[in-house]
Every structure is written in structure tokens, then in C-alpha cells.
Subunit: 199 residues, 2 copies
């Protein structure tokens, strides 16, 4: 559907309103009426911009939240070119998930969307982009001679994705950010080629 | 409720039957009728052994599955006293979750039990025991002089828990066990005090 600039703005306003609503109400399930009320739109408008109804809106909100996952790690994740940048990025990731605690906005949305192909596409493409940005950080550091060129950047980036996913899961279920912190610290030490003896 | 030996056996038979049923049907939701049919028991018997009904049965099955999570890592996880033992344990963890693929029996159960205190207790105590066993492995290796005594065993064990949780989550959502494998390998390298340069 080709939208005018005004139409795109309205559509975006609905997405952001629904996102804000879901961030307050988490982890409850959201209804179309909730979205209408919180965005000040009519049912007709909602279906005009989202012909697929609730599932289409939730997916658009999920895409919006996925963008925010990366945005919350900026500017550090875009320029992992010094150990200071890696530390700041690590701190930004921990701070982000600490602030959300048990209520991960994207996780909550995904629970509501369920295991549809659209939902898998949103999380899959988020994780791919995330892993690519970390991988780019590793290869940048390698080209500057700050990380050993023999280190496998693909494996390292995959390990960070696993560590972050698991650390966040533990934070969500226990309220404790230690898991996320220690796995990030150990993986960064691995990049530094630093074992405990060298500290 | 004090059960006779025969009563305990019947109760255990119901748990194992329900567990087997849920392993075939995953990730569908299970009903009391499914459990009756698959365990060959009457409604009266089910409520005799599980007065709390479906939720109590599902929790008992979840406890049974949690036991299996640890059992599937035996004997290695009980005696992480050499690098060979760590490698075999790592292989057992990867093999277990590869075999389950997207259908993690405990994860499926937890989705059905929901976020009740009982469910949180089952996963919490599983993760605590798991972390403790890994921690014991680290301190055993330290007492044998195989891991640097300056390494923090608590942090290392917490990082393994995070890495395994995230690696399994990635395996469940992508079907790819690489995430789990690389995070385990890097964490074991960390224990060895081995950086890429030393390979």
C-alpha cells in the first residue's frame, strides 16, 4: 500500500502509541480496543493502515521494538573500534536490560504474536543484524591489530549472541543481571586474548 | 499425602506416561483426557494422586523433565575433573539439545504451566543445581592445579548457565547448534586460560 507522507505519519503514530501502551501494560495481552483507545484512532483507521488487523499491528510494533534494541546500543555498537568502545557497549546492553527487568517489550510482543512466520522473521533479522554488527567490531579491531587475526570473528559474534540471549533470559527470570554481565565480560576477555593469569 | 510403595509406583507411572505423551505431542497443549488415555488411568485415580489436577500433574512432569536435564549430562557433569571430562560434558549437552531441536520438553511444559510460583521453583532449582555442578567442576580443577586459582568459579559457572540458556534458545529458534557449541568452547577456553594465540 502506497501511503502519503501524512498517511505514513499516522501509521507511525499508531505503531508508537501501541508500543507505548504495551510498555506500560506488559506483560498483559493487548486488544484492538486497547490500541484504538491509546492511539486515539477509529477501527476504520486501524484497518486502513493495518488490513491484517491485530496480528499486523503487533508485528509492526515488534519491528519497531527490534529497531529500538539496536538503537539502545548506539552509538557504541556501530563503532566497536577500541576496548573503551567495547566496554561502553557492554554497559549499554546491561543497562538496557536492567531497565526492562522482567518486562522485555520485544519478548512480551513475541509471546502475543506467537510462532508465526512473520514473528520469526522479525526476531531472526534482528539477531542477524546484531550478530553482524558485533562481527564488524571484531574484524575492525583485527584490522587495527587490537585483536589477534587468528580469532574467528564469526564464532566470536555467535557466542556473544548466545551469551546475551541467555543472560537476558536469566535476568528476566531471576531479576539478577550478573549472568549477563559475567558472560559479556568473559567473552570480551576472550577477544582480548586475556586469560585470568594476565590480569 | 503418604503413599504406599504401590501408590508411589502408580503415581510415577502417571508422571512418566504423561512425560512420554508430551514428548510425542510437543509443542501442543495437553489435556487431562490426554493424560488419562496415555497413562491408562481413571479420572478418580488422577485426582487421587494429583488433587491439584492438571497443574499439579504438569508440575510433577516438569520436575521429572528437570531431573532428566541433569541426568542427560551424566556421568560427565558429576566429575568435571579433567579436560577430557569437560569436552565430553560439552558434547553431551550439545547432543542432548540437538536431539530435541525445537521441541525442548521442559520448555514446552513451562509454556503450558505458565508463570506460576511452582513453575518458577522448578526452573530455578534446576538452574541452581546445574550451576553448582559446573562450579564444583571448576573448583575441582583448581584444587588439582588444572585451572588457575585466581579464576572466579562463581562467575565462570554463571557464564556457562547464561551461555547454555542462550545457545539452546538459538538452537530452538534457528535449528542451528553452532551458537551453543561456540559459546561452550569459548567458555571452556576461558577456563583453560587459553587465548587464540596459544592454540
Amino acid at each position: 500500500m502506497a501511503l502519503t507522507a501524512k498517511g505514513r505519519a499516522t501509521r507511525q503514530r499508531i505503531i508508537e502509541g501501541a508500543s507505548a501502551h504495551m510498555r506500560t501494560d506488559a506483560p498483559g495481552t493487548v486488544t484492538l480496543d486497547d490500541i484504538r483507545a491509546s492511539t486515539g484512532t477509529s477501527k476504520g483507521q486501524l484497518f486502513h493502515y493495518f488490513p491484517g488487523g491485530k496480528e499486523e499491528i503487533l508485528l509492526a510494533v515488534a519491528r519497531h521494538e527490534a529497531e529500538r534494541v539496536i538503537a539502545d546500543q548506539r552509538p557504541h555498537i556501530d563503532a566497536l573500534n577500541s576496548w573503551t568502545a567495547w566496554t561502553r557497549w557492554r554497559d549499554a546492553v546491561v543497562a538496557r536490560y536492567r531497565a526492562h527487568g522482567a518486562h522485555c517489550p520485544l519478548g512480551n510482543l513475541m509471546n502475543q504474536v506467537g510462532s508465526t512466520p512473520g514473528a520469526a522473521e522479525v526476531t531472526g533479522s534482528l539477531l542477524d543484524r546484531w550478530q553482524l554488527l558485533i562481527r564488524q567490531g571484531v574484524t575492525t579491531m583485527q584490522s587495527e591489530g587490537l585483536i589477534d587475526s587468528g580469532l574467528d570473528a564469526d564464532r566470536a559474534a555467535a557466542a556473544f549472541i548466545a551469551g546475551i540471549q541467555g543472560g537476558v533470559q536469566m535476568l528476566r527470570s531471576t531479576g539478577d543481571s550478573t549472568y549477563l554481565e559475567v558472560v559479556l565480560d568473559i567473552l570480551i576477555d576472550h577477544l582480548r586474548g586475556r586469560s585470568v593469569q594476565e590480569r
